[in-house]
């Protein structure tokens, strides 16, 4: 099993995954081998910040600033979402 993500993990899309702005459905989708994931606006915003360099802590900070939300709460949500995507092999960290 892969190690759990932490504040200092640096997530990025897996080399076999890409994001696409899908006109037919009006939103972002994540494309991977035999997988299509419809992203809600928040998930899309988080993934746009996952460049493989920026730490999760900094991502949470940026999102907290943009949405005027408490950083610690944002951090918990971000880690939970990214952990799910990593378990499915859609992102690496």
């Amino acid at each position: 099993m892969s190690a759990p993500l932490t504040e200092s993990s640096r997530p990025g899309l897996s080399p076999h995954t890409r994001m696409k702005n899908d006109a037919a459905r009006g939103g972002w989708v994540l494309l991977a081998p035999e997988r299509v994931l419809m992203l809600d606006p928040i998930a899309a915003e988080i993934l746009t910040l996952c460049d493989g360099i920026t730490e999760i802590g900094a991502i949470a900070e940026e999102l907290a600033r943009r949405h005027a939300a408490p950083r610690e709460e944002v951090l918990v949500d971000v880690i939970e979402m990214l952990q799910g995507l990593r378990d499915k092999g859609l992102i690496i960290a």
């Binding site: 099993m1 892969s2 076999h16 890409r18 459905r25 494309l31 081998p33 035999e34 299509v36 092999g89």
Partner: protein
């Protein structure tokens, strides 16, 4: 379904069966018994148009399949076009015809994902099942080339009574080859596989062991290997959501251009299919008689109609209902609520208990004679 108040959503993916030609002879081939001829295959220009139509219809992925898609000389052109149209490009192949040069052209054209089928983890048995000497070795080499080229790799492990006990080795093989995904595909009994059912259908105890082994491996390999696994129908309690629901997510185009809601749909008599030679893909998706016939839930009989799972499994598989009950509009007998379910289970138990017969191999040049097929 009312087209005005509840329009058909866009398809997720297009399965492009470029050809029925294939060097292998797998006795469970998913192609229809009546194979399309080379001279009836769609030409390059038509495929290019169809790819554009699929993308503008909202399809997100394209699966180039067959037969063996590598026998088409225009494969690289089609892949490049699909990628340019924004589709996630996937090649489903036996890989025995894949060499470095071809792979490099495909990679340069934008190919993203390659799925290679394996007939077993043991070379001799794998080649015997595929009816192709030396095939397993070639597949191993091809899988390594795919990873070295940096493309995503899926191993398709086709399982049945003559290899099911090797399942743990298949999982190890997928890991060893660097696959990101393993698809454990129990043989589905249509067409060729139905003709070979007695030689392929596993016993209940073997299936149960496989299900447990997969569940354990899936948990242990989380984040390393994605494992997709569908329990074989004959031992299931509820049917699979075949194709994610009829005409709901997928379009399948046969080599000759007929557009099918699933690759086995031609086994249903009386369904009229449209061809991309005559209508646009959009018209077909939205209005083709064959697509409308079992779309949504209004066609359903009881017990499906009032079932809380009617939009989970969509009544199961129409082709299987046809084959086993004689009525394509019946509840899939894989469902324990079907009056035919007990007979399905008994058939599986009985056939798996007797010795397998010699395989009827699927050959492009030869279709089995009537007397070779079970009644």
């Amino acid at each position: 379904m009312n087209a005005l108040t509840n329009p058909v959503g866009p398809p997720l993916a297009l399965l492009a069966e470029l050809t029925h030609r294939c060097p292998l002879g797998c006795p469970y081939c998913s192609n229809p018994i009546a194979l399309d001829r080379v001279r009836d295959e769609l030409d390059t220009a038509t495929w290019l148009r169809v790819i554009d139509e699929a993308a503008s219809l909202g399809a997100l992925q394209i699966h180039f399949s067959g037969g063996e898609p590598l026998v088409r000389r225009d494969l690289v052109t089609l892949v490049a076009h699909a990628r340019k149209a924004g589709l996630y490009t996937n090649l489903i192949t036996s890989a025995v015809l894949l060499d470095e040069a071809r792979l490099e052209s495909l990679r340069a054209a934008g190919l993203e994902h390659v799925q290679i089928s394996f007939q077993d983890s043991q070379p001799t048995n794998a080649d015997r099942i595929a009816g192709y000497e030396g095939g397993h070795e070639k597949k191993l080499a091809a899988a390594r080339m795919v990873r070295a080229a940096g493309l995503a790799l899926t191993i398709n492990a086709v399982m049945h009574r003559q290899n099911l006990t090797h399942l743990p080795d298949m999982i190890a093989l997928a890991l060893d080859l660097g696959a990101g995904r393993l698809e454990i595909a129990h043989v589905q009994y249509y067409g060729w596989a139905l003709a070979n059912r007695q030689s392929l259908i596993p016993g209940r105890a073997e299936v149960r062991a496989a299900v447990l082994a997969v569940a354990a491996a899936r948990e242990q390999l989380k984040g390393r290997l994605v494992i997709d696994h569908v329990v074989p129908d004959y031992y299931a309690r509820r049917p699979k959501a075949c194709m994610g629901g009829w005409a709901r997510q997928f379009l399948n185009i046969a080599p000759s251009g007929l557009v099918l809601p699933c690759h086995a749909a031609q086994s249903i008599p009386g369904l009229r299919f449209d061809s991309v030679k005559e209508r646009s893909l959009g018209e077909i998706w939205n209005h083709s008689e064959a697509f409308e016939r079992f779309r949504g839930t209004s066609w359903m009989p009881e017990p499906c109609r009032s079932c809380e799972r009617r939009e989970v499994d969509f009544g199961g598989c129409r082709c299987q209902a046809m084959m086993l009950t004689g009525d394509a509009g019946a509840t899939d007998p894989a469902c324990e609520l079907s009056p035919h379910h007990a007979r399905l289970f008994e058939t599986a138990m009985a056939e798996s208990a007797v010795a397998p017969r010699a395989f009827i191999y699927r050959r492009y040049t030869k279709t089995p004679r009537e007397e070779e097929l079970p009644a």
